[in-house]
Symmetry: C2
Subunit: 283 residues, 2 copies
């Protein structure tokens, strides 16, 4: 079932009082990564809701909100094949009102802590995680799921959403699912569509760098500067590195040495497409 | 029943699935104003929860958090007499964690829009309404009430909470209840306890000013500057006026002329105790 209105969602889910409900929040342009979340949700819950919403308030003014891929017909078909019970695809006006200026002058925002935001993607994407937390909490309040499913690909996002759920006592369990990759190692992303064939080849550097860091860690290297330095062999003039960090996977705190709780995270532009990836060193 | 732990509240309320649940959030030091909210809640819902929590994150560093009256035994007795089903009185550590620094560096906050915050009490109480919205959303998520009851006394607070509920799709209905006054006209407030007998007499100026503004409006005066000027006859050197405003009661927008949607709001210190009051001109 495909619905566009908040009230319709509420009318449907109120008949599911005796079911466990899963929410898989997406921005559409669904790929195997999203489908892995949906499959997991089907395993865990009686009813699965997928939201498809390109959320304007999580894009900066110079970002790709307008050109972000929108493929609702195909997304709905994929969801139907997976047995999704409800696809919720609201308009921006449905979510934020017709005349909403979408600024913190006129809209209530959920603001995650600076400590979690002022690093990694949050450093360049100012306000991004405020927009993410705000829309995720709205979706939680509309759908009232028991479980919500997020991909580890957006590692900082998952940590921040778990923190929001903890801090605000949100009655939803967060399930984090592993990154899905092409056979080449490239992490799936809706933004991969922007890449040429050459770009996709150059994009392999991200997963190669992370795999190599993990291999070095497994060999006993725990010095974080040394582990990060191993990246430079993979980077060419085709790569515009934004960050490469090794942090505590649960708190995003800096560590003195890499350990079994470390995560390595990278953001790099290829053909001016911003790509991110990460890996747990302990796995 | 008096409980102090979040998990206890959840265990109790999950057995109330077929009941409508009311929440009356308070900071304790209960007076007839709070009791009027509880009575209304009893009328509307099957189960009534009263929270008693002096919320540290809504007090500024120079405000009265430490000396704010705490009278839990008496509050619990009053609630029991009114037939309240559950009194939830958590510690700050239960709400925010033992080591929580209670800043937006480490804690997720709910931030109402600047337009609603940057006036009236929000102008001098910086961060106050972020703290209010954050704790109210936490309490909503813990108790999961159908209805929540707030007094019109804190008029800006009610407008901001209604805005939060709207913006974040919070599944709780907000019920606003009238101000309760002493026979003298003084609006009830837990902070009235700080006043001497002389202070209480001087505090009458607030309700007198508001009543007179409404009387003038009823006589046909709609010029806002003229209405505000009528206040000065009531103010002495015992009064430290913080603000006197006439605004739209639903949006807190400035108006060209007073009308049936106007609210007059005043904040004034007497004996260095900050008192607030308000009145609807159309009633």
């Amino acid at each position: 079932m495909l619905v566009h209105k908040i009230e319709e969602v509420k009318n449907i889910t109120k008949n599911w009082k005796d079911c466990t409900i899963a929410l898989v929040p997406t921005m559409g342009a669904l790929h195997e990564g999203h489908l892995s979340l949906i499959k997991k949700a089907k395993e865990v819950c009686d009813k699965v809701v997928v939201s498809v919403f390109v959320n304007p308030i999580q894009f900066g003014p110079s970002e790709d909100y307008d050109k972000y891929p929108r493929t609702l017909d195909k997304d709905y078909e994929l969801c139907s094949k997976e047995g999704v019970d409800l696809v919720f695809a609201p308009s921006p006006a449905e979510m934020y009102g017709e005349e909403q200026m979408l600024s913190n002058n006129t809209l209530t925002f959920v603001c995650p802590p600076f400590f979690y935001v002022n690093k990694l993607c949050g450093k360049t994407r100012v306000g991004h995680f405020d927009g993410v937390c705000t829309v995720v909490l709205k979706l939680f309040n509309i759908v009232q799921p028991d479980y919500a499913f997020f991909g580890q690909k957006d590692a900082q996002q998952v940590v921040i959403i778990k923190k929001m759920v903890h801090d605000l006592n949100v009655p939803v369990k967060i399930v984090q699912c592993p990154i899905i990759r092409e056979a080449s190692g490239l992490a799936l992303s809706s933004r991969n569509k922007y890449l040429s064939n050459d770009g996709k080849k150059n994009a392999l550097a991200l997963s190669q760098i992370l795999n190599n860091i993990r291999a070095c860690y497994k060999k006993g290297i725990t010095d974080i500067a040394a582990l990060k330095e191993t990246a430079y062999g993979y980077l060419t003039e085709k790569h515009d590195l934004e960050y490469l960090e090794i942090l505590d996977k649960n708190t995003l705190e800096e560590q003195k040495k890499a350990d079994e709780n470390s995560i390595a995270l990278i953001a790099c532009r290829v053909e001016n497409v911003r790509l991110i990836d990460n890996i747990y060193l302990g796995e």
